[in-house]
Subunit: 579 residues, 2 copies
């Protein structure tokens, strides 16, 4: 051979070492990635070595995979490929560096490794896996999926922005586009301004959404880029974030798995959610930090929600976590509604997943109970056992039931699995400086929110659920929010109060009681904005023993002065306590 690729040496030597020592490893059941990285030098792609190490883990049923305490680079080229439907992220044929599909009883010990990814490769796929622990590592990308520019000047219908070299860009058809040095494109769909001093969304700024994927722009002689948009505004010195158009690259994709623990993991960047878990049970995040990569000067950590859970069960625990500067909520825990598309027999429905980011989601399985819900009032009017499910395609599912549909079953109404619902514990976490809200709570299991800190620009805690827009099943039954600090939330446009309902109840509000039994006790609310609680369609709400401290952190500009707005609720107990 005249020409030998850079990687062959360490790969080959690694293979020999491993084949010689397999016997011993089979006993100890520990695989060391180091053994597959002989000759590895910083900057080389470790993906193939990792694949071989994971193959070995499967082969010997390893109990532990040890990473070296180094900076490891991963490119998409040699990564595992799978077509995945990931709730609330974008589906697709994706590459994964750590494909833990089918593994069980294994600890991935990071030993402090920094995993540095380049391009469109997802860090972790935990699929049909059981008893998995990932710990002591950091995840980052050489080029972010969003882009950041500094606002230099502002005028009527334009903004001038300067970009650091980390955000290469180009122009095509008079529009601004972003790329990386390998030529990959990084499309964006929205703009949001961040306060450079406070390192949070600038006070009360709006998202600007692009139409047709085109932001008219031109390069100025001084090297700045002038972008044109009707009514655009910005404060010079602040950071303008060009938000990623897609959510293709979550850091952890957890699907159809049980007992997954992620601890002492830093998610400095990814192009989607930090941890998205679907149809999975018993998930614990401990000391997971979603925060911008240190030393990079980035304003944004990750491009979507820090965490998100769809149709999960067992327990969901988030302990001692930090979720900051991500481009969407800290968490959202919910089920999935599908819409009745046609009634094809007395016991047979075709239902349709409506939201593109829910397509391909297996939301119901034989043997589960199915609830039938009026899509405008969210009032449940039927409960049936599922006999058989045929997925016609990612959008449509045929559902056969064990008994006839009730009278009044209507096309356009929604159905969802009636659990099992997860129990939720969120304790000692910090949520701050992100876009949008804090916690979106939508499980019917026990929910405990304790000793957390919130400084988010929308509602800190939101009870949603609807059958006509997001199609997320919610409807809480037992929530305790206790001993948290709410530090001047609602400094953005994404909330009506610190604790609020945002359910899609458009009819029968006087009788619909979608959320039930919520206790808000012994919390501290620092507020510049009087709006503490905004509820409708709630039964059994108690607010007592809370400390309320008025501040002038921001200047409140809204009309609403009532701390408690309660509409169409029952069994409400509010004890106002001011400091």
């Amino acid at each position: 051979m005249k020409k030998i690729a850079g990687i062959w040496l360490y790969y080959l030597v690694g293979s020999i070492l491993i084949s010689c020592s397999t016997g011993q490893q089979a006993e100890e059941k520990v695989v060391y990635l180091k053994d597959y990285l002989v000759g590895y030098q910083e900057g080389q792609d470790a993906t193939l070595a990792l694949r071989r190490a994971l193959d070995e883990c499967k082969k010997v049923k390893a109990r532990r995979l040890e990473l070296p305490a180094e900076k490891l680079y991963f490119q998409p080229d040699y990564a595992v490929e799978q077509y995945v439907f990931v709730s609330n992220n974008d589906e697709g044929l994706k590459r994964f560096a750590f494909d833990l599909t089918g593994l069980s009883d294994i600890v991935l010990e990071g030993n402090g490794a920094v995993l540095l990814f380049s391009g469109f490769v997802c860090p972790f796929l935990i699929r049909e896996a059981e008893n998995i622990e990932v710990r002591n590592l950091s995840i980052d990308y050489t080029r972010t999926f969003h882009s950041e520019g500094k606002i230099e000047a502002c005028g009527e219908g334009w903004l001038d922005v300067s970009f650091a070299s980390e955000y290469p860009y180009y122009f095509s058809n008079g529009c601004l586009h972003f790329k990386d040095n390998q030529g990959n494109k990084y499309p964006y769909s929205n703009l949001l301004e961040f306060d450079v001093e406070k390192r949070e969304p600038a006070y009360m700024v709006k998202d600007y959404w692009l139409s047709g994927g085109c932001m008219p722009a031109q390069e100025l002689k001084n090297g700045n880029v002038r972008i044109f948009k009707d009514k655009i505004k910005g404060t010079p010195g602040n950071i303008l974030v060009f938000g990623a158009a897609q959510r293709l690259i979550p850091a952890f994709t957890v699907t159809d798995s049980k007992r997954v623990r992620i601890q002492h993991v830093n998610i400095w960047h990814c192009g989607g959610m930090g941890v998205i878990a679907q149809r999975s049970g018993d998930i614990e995040l401990d000391h997971v930090q979603v925060t911008p990569s240190p030393g990079t000067g980035r304003m944004i950590s990750i491009t979507a929600d820090a965490t998100h859970f769809s149709n999960c069960y067992g327990f969901i625990r988030m302990l001692n976590c930090l979720f900051e500067n991500q481009k969407d909520d800290a968490t959202n825990i919910h089920g999935i509604y599908a819409v009745i598309d046609s009634i094809i027999g007395p016991q047979e429905l075709i239902v349709k997943l409506m939201h593109p980011a829910q397509e391909g989601f297996d939301f119901i399985r034989p043997g589960q109970q199915l609830e039938l819900v009026n899509h405008k009032s969210l009032i449940q009017y039927g409960e049936l056992s599922v006999e058989n499910v045929e997925r016609l395609n990612k959008k449509y599912t045929r559902v056969c039931l064990t008994a006839p549909l009730p009278e009044g079953t209507r096309v356009k109404d929604v159905v969802a699995a009636m659990g099992p619902y997860p129990e939720v514990l969120i304790r000692a976490c910090k949520m701050r400086n992100n876009r949008a809200r804090g916690l979106l709570l939508g499980s019917r299991g026990k929910i405990r929110i304790e000793k957390n800190y919130f400084h988010v620009p929308g509602a800190a805690i939101l009870f949603e659920g609807d059958g006509s827009y997001w199609y997320e099943q919610s409807g809480v039954r037992d929530v305790v929010i206790r001993e948290n600090v709410f530090d001047n939330c609602n400094y953005g446009i994404w909330g009506k109060a610190c604790i609020a309902v945002g359910s899609g109840i458009y009819e029968q509000r006087e009788t619909s009681r979608y959320h039930r039994k919520i206790r808000v006790e012994e919390n501290t609310f620092h507020i510049f904005d009087p709006r503490l609680v905004n509820l409708y369609g709630v039964d059994d709400f108690v607010f007592k023993g809370n400390r309320i401290i008025h501040t002038d952190a921001y200047s409140y500009q809204g009309q609403e002065q009532r701390p408690f707005v309660i509409d169409n609720c029952s069994n409400i107990f509010i004890q106002e306590t001011e400091d």
Copy 2:
């Protein structure tokens, strides 16, 4: 039930009928789609009924599925979904109406049915199937994947075009876009002018390629659309074809199947190739007509090649077919080259599929012979047995060999499976009025081209193959072209002669003999263009007994006056016979 979807009645009744008569059908092994269409009315979606009928075919191992002699409508909604990699078309998660995956020994008897599809649904998937016959039906779409407009006026940098109501359009960001009445988008990437009288590509017109998916345009007061493009030209009265940007919807996707016969089938439209077959053997098309839908006034039949065969084996036969007015070649038969990306051991390569429309193609399997080919000279320098193949992902494959790679094996060189190659017989077919070429012949098996008629704007017969652009393996070994009529071909820009070589041989031309043994005998050439044969890198070529008739069908404007341009060839025998 208050509301019952339109389809439930015939579906349910169909189910009952079938479940009552299953016993008898199991004996006769004939399934009638009609039984699943009770109550079906024209315009209703027959997809679900068809799915149930095909389920029944699988269950009872039916020998025949009979369609009713009617117009049947198919929408994507309830269609089967599969992610498919289709050579030379676009990969994707697609919907299929007729999913024949895994079927064997079955005739799909169309009885003259017209299958009318709406939107992004592919007609046929013949996957891992054996002994399949499809006959007596027509395939059409309610809205074409391309769009056609009439050129009304022309000026410096602009054209005015009028569109019939079949081609709904809209404007976004100052660009022209096409849609259908359901809101689906029909992106286009190129423009080509067709002669309205001759119903063929206008003489010597060029493709106009769009940059960035945007064709600046505006609607005029008279209802025409003015499109803007530098140097654009067009003749008022002619048809401007806005070519589909993707090839997502072939009519027949044949993959990993054996013994497939398609006869008396009209492919009036589809959004990709008419018949694309890959890794399949013994394929016969008899009386397959690719032609514009009668009565619609459309200029274009289908949006890409009429037929295409990659890594096929056994025989390929096309008999009595008509391939006209499609947007690309009549056929292309070839293998697939992958590029050596890295040499990771003495017997181990990582190879890379280069062309996006080849990604995901399993081009080599254990036990096959692999050729190593210099990518610039196309000279083979190695042949090795494949021990093991690991598909890393759609782009990269790891190949383990049974013996060491030869000295001089180089990154960037190409590899391909050394057959089995198909024998090809194309007889009594008409090829005319399409974009580009007639037959691209690239099998090393016996090729017989007999009694066909060609009136194509490029080379009628082209011998290609290259290791640096299309990465298509060719290199013929035994070709006879006999008793065909070549009727004034080369009236477009896509050919250097009636019979030509277009291989990517960039080095060692003096010794590279990529194509071998070609006989051109007893054909009739009507020519307005003197260029009959253009060869390089060919060994053993005989041209004799052909009739050459000069015409003035078009006015030849080229410089080259030599009928035979022979460069770097050996064993050439040319007998010029003029009439």
